[in-house]
Symmetry: C4
Subunit: 301 residues, 4 copies
Amino acid sequence: MSFRRLLRKCQIRNQLLRECLAECLGVYVLILFGCGSVAQVTTTQEKKGQYLSINLGFALGVTFGVFVSRGVSVSQLLCVLGRHPWKKLPFYIFFQVLGAFLAAATVALQYYVHGYKCFCMYDVTLADAIQAFSGGELTVTGPTATAGIFSTFPADYLSVWGGVVDQVIGTAALLLGVLAIGDQKNSSIPDGLQPVLVGALVLVIGTSMGSNSGYAINPARDIGPRLFTYIAGWGVEVFRAGSWWWWVPIVAPCVGALLGTLIYELMIEAHHPASPSELQTSCVEATEGKPGLELEGVKSD
Amino acid sequence: MSFRRLLRKCQIRNQLLRECLAECLGVYVLILFGCGSVAQVTTTQEKKGQYLSINLGFALGVTFGVFVSRGVSVSQLLCVLGRHPWKKLPFYIFFQVLGAFLAAATVALQYYVHGYKCFCMYDVTLADAIQAFSGGELTVTGPTATAGIFSTFPADYLSVWGGVVDQVIGTAALLLGVLAIGDQKNSSIPDGLQPVLVGALVLVIGTSMGSNSGYAINPARDIGPRLFTYIAGWGVEVFRAGSWWWWVPIVAPCVGALLGTLIYELMIEAHHPASPSELQTSCVEATEGKPGLELEGVKSD
Amino acid sequence: MSFRRLLRKCQIRNQLLRECLAECLGVYVLILFGCGSVAQVTTTQEKKGQYLSINLGFALGVTFGVFVSRGVSVSQLLCVLGRHPWKKLPFYIFFQVLGAFLAAATVALQYYVHGYKCFCMYDVTLADAIQAFSGGELTVTGPTATAGIFSTFPADYLSVWGGVVDQVIGTAALLLGVLAIGDQKNSSIPDGLQPVLVGALVLVIGTSMGSNSGYAINPARDIGPRLFTYIAGWGVEVFRAGSWWWWVPIVAPCVGALLGTLIYELMIEAHHPASPSELQTSCVEATEGKPGLELEGVKSD
Amino acid sequence: MSFRRLLRKCQIRNQLLRECLAECLGVYVLILFGCGSVAQVTTTQEKKGQYLSINLGFALGVTFGVFVSRGVSVSQLLCVLGRHPWKKLPFYIFFQVLGAFLAAATVALQYYVHGYKCFCMYDVTLADAIQAFSGGELTVTGPTATAGIFSTFPADYLSVWGGVVDQVIGTAALLLGVLAIGDQKNSSIPDGLQPVLVGALVLVIGTSMGSNSGYAINPARDIGPRLFTYIAGWGVEVFRAGSWWWWVPIVAPCVGALLGTLIYELMIEAHHPASPSELQTSCVEATEGKPGLELEGVKSD
């Protein structure tokens, strides 16, 4: 009991801080499994996994990320869209990027340790799959490039505007699906299975829209690990590559999320016949935070 | 609230138009994920996905297509079979083909942009995976053929009648499974999970009947994207290829759907013992539209 | 309504015949998807699917086979074990083998048509993937062997007794899992999802015990298609191959099913504390047929 | 009825022995499917399965292991953490290792039989996939190494401390996910589907953390089969390989499980607002054994 009583002592009663910790851990799990899968496939040269393993890694990463902090993978999009009060936004963003950064650091701890030498007194040799694969050189492009383990880069044939289109379509498709899954008048999916279906949605986006620019479809997923690689030895090239590609997975998903929401609202949700009680409660809902997965829609204040 | 009130203004109260919008968006999602997966596997030459990714793409495409517009992937078959009033049929067909056409256009926007040059004032260069793969030539057959990304074509060894048999069997298997999933006396599957199982059914049809002629098993899935390729630069060859193959995925699925329904009705459903209440309501049901997934069977008026 | 009234006329009230039709259709669906997947992978030389597709084909084949005729994939094992009255057994076996035979004929219709020439007046050319792959010769062994599409054959290194051990272990594992899934005191799985889990069980048996002799783990699955290949042109070699292998997938699964049941009963189910009401009803249950999936156990009369 | 009455006679009323039998059978199923998949992929040289099949084998092995003995795959971790009374621990460990040992022996019976010759009077020849693959030599390292079928070994580039880090992170991720799935305030997953999600968790750990040292993430999973290979002909090399690697998958998972639990408790569970009734019952719960999957958390006495 002493351990449990100790835990009680640590209890944080501030709602915002609790949410931020959950967001941080949720994104951490997503990136740990997602980028970990890319690291495994890349460093074993497809001997222990292929592109489908990467798709599964991000899909189940999202599923368990949501299970760890119900709503995180969604809220990181929805908060941009105004579903949460705007003043909470900087906190969410900070903790999400922090979670992604820490997860990238954990993946590097498993697959690459030269970056950690600075923290150590003496020259430890741990695992070094990345070093073994790349021959000691940390590159962003070329046949032994390893920066793509952590953040996304466009294919050679892709222009920046092509990448913007690609990311906008990908995130719009994500939002379309997420809103359909959460639309109680349409789907009636058991609440506990919604994260599994969101994972399946990310899986199919990965099999159908992954080859152009790596389906970031989420700002925190991309910038957190990119910051890590910048610090850990890949250098400024991680920002410069692909004609300064780095801003695309931050800006385009926001546009895409708005677009997908608009399409779903205009084509499906706006036409649900409203029940009388709903007309009343919808006003209340818009000003209050609701518990649960909060997939029901996006309201601007 | 202003956004939500604006949405209310857009509310369409006409039931048929609402259904048509839903059908359109459902087929759109199906084709976006399905054909997108083929595009990814084709243009990366199986580096980012293999045939199983395509199977998953269409399977989850169907799942989320149904989630977006509950019943669409089924009704697009059932309406042909007389489940819906005949006068609604032309509207459904038009909006389904429109959804498939628009989705093909979206996939092309992600993977191929030369087709969009005509709409632009100046010569933009966006993504162009298809151009990079095919070396600039849009062909329907041969090693760098790209028309197969959008619509189905028969294998070299397949005669037209062989293709008809293949499509009839495939669609009959689909209907067998769909009717079994929706048969409340047999399966008792939670309502919210039926789209997932319909997706799994399309997956297994893809792994077992995909190599002869690409399992269209659905008229709108095939003709919509085929029309797009005809316009976007592949030309009349998309209709001429495979001894004028194009009509097979339109006609054969209708025959197959009838056959599969007949088999299930005659071998399983006809023999369910009828409860007294059911004998009464079945008359009523036949003349009314029912809400929900409407997988329970097919009634001719 | 006329169609539905016509169906009513066809209603079969004989319980045994109804069950037999369901068994027949259930095994038909299993073999159609399972052997179809082998045909696709074999004739495309792994271009459109790999071994995992075959595993998925049989797994989802079992799932939808059970959905089509709830309990079929299980009862075809349980009837051997005395769960059903012994006098029903020959009927079940006949209709299961018939279903498997017809499904093999359907797969051949999709992938191979020379076998159908005898039924036709003139020389039709339909699909002929098998002919295109094998160069016109129907062989049971060698690099272009095609008999393995329909029935199982042992690997070169496997002796007959090794195959018996392999099939006994595989079927025992199947029964262990099936009894665990259906054990209401242990699992509490929603009834509608049990077929999905039985499918997952067949999937994992396929990934872990498929390479020695092709996991028939079911008599009807193997002998029905083997009879078809015997008639359709592969000849007596389908029985002679592998030192007269054909009897192993018939006899060994029966032994394995008994063994698996015994292990589960002795290690888990025998030790469930019995509730008073259960002690009474268990006597009644043993003499009556129960509706539903009937996975609860195996009783000898 | 005689068989069932006989079973009743065998009923074990001792709770601990019943649990031990269940643990044994649960781990048996896990290793039978997991190591069986490795054996299949290794001996067929990836012709009948790839790395993803191995991931699926262990994932579904865990799922059905839990279904067979609800809670086993979890309790084998939790008992180390003090969730179960400490005096039960040696019994659990013994029966878990026994189950893993017996499963390894079963896999060897399917894929390798020279080790069984000693038990036989005369020189039987059964299956011998391992012999056929390795050319008769049982090696622990090198291109035809077969010891890796049964227990884990580190990659060439991995130091012992690197392996410790890898296993600690992997098991921490497992516990994070397992606690999230079982946290009733967070997830509300239907009880019968928790084993499926634990399986999915093991799948994603396999795709993202499997290449460094084979994700044992569980002491019994590794030492049982290792003991078998030691006896069955691979010799002391199975302990010596990788700089005496064998102790890492025993010690590191215990550390990792503690770490993962701590992270989840501190970041998520400690901050759940407690209901008044819960404050009372939590004291009771800590001293009593609870039925069910027991995923709710870890309490130190």
